[in-house]
Symmetry: C2
Subunit: 248 residues, 2 copies
């Protein structure tokens, strides 16, 4: 007879949440390009490059969310989740008229001196940025919808980086038209609401076993890698870099 | 009435082929990491990192080729194209026994001092390398098979880089076991045969209009970007880099 397999008990809900939140240390807020951004060290062209590349991520979000809807047979989940698509694409539903996050990002582009067409044509987007963003969309298309929900949890860390931009840009980049920052203000509220739903679901669904909890951490790591690789792509496109030697 | 649209005549077969071959100037042989490799400037760990990351590309090739088969209703094409899968996966068909290119790459890994498990576990692979390679596989899955055939045409430039490694490694990296170089030797022959088939097909299929010819150039550019982004990912994983300033 084989020895029984060792089965670890699931972490408590609190322990599991703490482990998810520990992903903050790998969030792209620590990426050299984002550190430069927060320190006011980017040139106008570099900040424009970031806005233009990052637009690809913005337009991928509702496509990713639609993939989740299309894989999800649970109407209650869909009724919550669809709000994310409305937030990004904008809507004209009942009495509510919302231009949406994608439009707000285009206005951010205009506020940093790009034209609408510079942004929407995607002509400034680096190929590697595309590969990173596509990896996220393809993950949502191909993996179970519960995993795609968990992959959204980098939202846990997003209010911090949005707040940082609101705090630093007016001093660091006074030439950016202030109305362009509306996207970040909107997301402070929206991301906090989204993450409550996504986090509660993830804590429930993946706490059915330790193995699932570990899978959720792996998924969050993947998503952190997507954001980091996107920042790498923008850095390589926008900065002269020198190879100093082998990695220590 | 609208003015008639201007329709450019297709380039001649020779002109179209010359434009495809001009992609050589963007081939990853010119990437800083590959230049360092050819100049003998990589450390053992860096060369190992390249072999380990690039293994992901090696195992993606037959998956990409199977996607082409699965999208292609033309038996004659499939009968030619399947040879690529046999070459990479190896085969035991009739009297022919071939270990295949993936096995040869694992032996290259052993020749540079990695274990088989280091290579096959993919644990050394950078996330951004994965995003670039997956972009190629997803392209072959989702686009028409004729476009996926055209995307293989970076093979036009491969014999040069394989020959370069065969020429330089014995002097530059004398610690690499010589039998590890068999992969490059095999590909010198295989890539030349493959490219004859892929190139002839592309010249025929895409020469039906100038628009299609331009699409083929765009596809080849995409594939060159995949290889360049893969090299970027390996460089960022393996090298200490310093931001010197904004891109000129």
């Amino acid at each position: 007879m084989n020895a029984p397999e060792r089965v670890d008990a699931p972490w408590s809900r609190e322990e599991f949440e703490a482990r998810l939140r520990a992903g903050a240390t790998s969030y792209h807020i620590h990426h050299p390009f984002h550190v430069m951004m927060a320190e006011g060290k980017l040139t106008k062209a570099q900040l424009q490059g970031w806005v233009a590349n990052r637009f690809l991520y913005q337009i991928a979000i509702p496509v990713k969310d639609a993939a989740i809807l299309s894989n999800c047979p649970d109407r209650e989940i869909r009724r919550e989740w669809i709000q994310r698509i409305l937030d990004h694409d904008g809507c004209n539903v009942g009495g509510v008229h919302d231009e949406g996050g994608i439009e707000a990002w285009i206005r951010l582009g205009e506020a940093v001196g790009l034209t609408r067409e510079d942004v929407t044509s995607l002509r400034l987007v680096s190929p590697a940025a595309r590969f990173a963003v596509d990896a996220y969309v393809n993950f949502a298309r191909r993996q179970p919808w519960q995993e795609a929900v968990a992959s959204s949890l980098t939202e846990l860390f997003a209010p911090h980086i949005h707040q940082q931009r609101l705090d630093t840009w007016p001093q660091m980049y006074p030439w950016v038209k202030p109305e362009g920052l509306q996207y970040f203000r909107n997301r402070l509220t929206q991301a906090r609401r989204d993450v409550q739903h996504g986090l509660a679901f993830t804590l429930d669904w993946f706490s059915r076993s330790r193995e699932l909890q570990e899978r959720a951490l792996e998924i969050l790591r993947f998503k952190l890698d997507v954001l980091w690789a996107l920042a790498d792509a923008i850095m390589l496109q926008q900065c002269e870099m020198e190879i100093r030697g082998p990695k220590a």
